[in-house]
Amino acid sequence: MDAQTGAPVDAEIFDEVALAHFIETQAEWRPVILAAARALSQQPNQGLLIPRHFHWDWTRKEAELKLLAVKFYGLGCEGKLQGIMKVETVAHSCRLPEQQGKPLVYIDYVESAPWNIKKLMGALGQPQRYRAVGTRLFEAAVLQSQEEGFRGRLGLHSLPGSEGFYINECGMTPVGRDPHKENLLWCEFTPEQAERYLAGE
């Protein structure tokens, strides 16, 4: 959705993104993110937002591109990637007791271009470009889960700042903190929750 006009915009979601494209995209986003984070850190209530190291071991990801279990998504608009996502279907399964051990789509990584993130652009005094980019990617992951036969079951490790979003706005169940993943909160969708999310409740 175009942030300025509020008009919906056509975008393409493709589920095969070349690694080079991914890396290029990230490299393009990085200086903007750092600049915005710096600007944010100067505001009194935003002590949160200072990036530490960023590591994304791309040499390994190259090998992962050929794995059936892994999918890379890109949301394209204006000839550029506006958001990217990586999901996996095998390495994780459901942890909620009622669906323990059942397969799910795991969102390993999802990120919008910095110019689409309201808070970052606000700090830089610049306009937000597109809205709902992350949402569309998230939706794609849920839809994939349904298409795979996983009935919409989805899992992810939420960052501290987004727990409210995934639990309250998306309706996921917070299952517990994962000591193997920096104590991040594991959030999960049941089939019913996934349906409700897609339908818009």
């Binding site: 794995l67 279990a69 390495a91 059942k102």
Partner: protein
């Protein structure tokens, strides 16, 4: 790329029984289950080929190496 092809599988009674049981347990169609199995096999194989090892760890934190594929 997402075009699908059909294949016939010849399985023993025991294999079919396991397939049935796992399908129910995982709430998956048999096709989806076989697909998951294939993905898992490829993923494990890729890492072992790279020189990594696969271990199981029991409740007492004892590690045992899984068979090398």
């Amino acid at each position: 790329m997402n075009q699908k092809r059909t294949m016939t599988l010849n399985l023993t009674d025991q294999e079919m029984s396991v397939l049935d049981q796992l399908s129910v347990q995982k709430d998956l169609s048999k096709t989806a289950l076989i697909r998951q199995a294939l993905r898992l096999y490829q993923l494990v194989d890729a890492r072992i080929t790279r020189g990594e090892k696969l271990f199981f760890e029991d409740q007492d934190k004892q590690k045992a190496e899984l068979m090398v594929l």
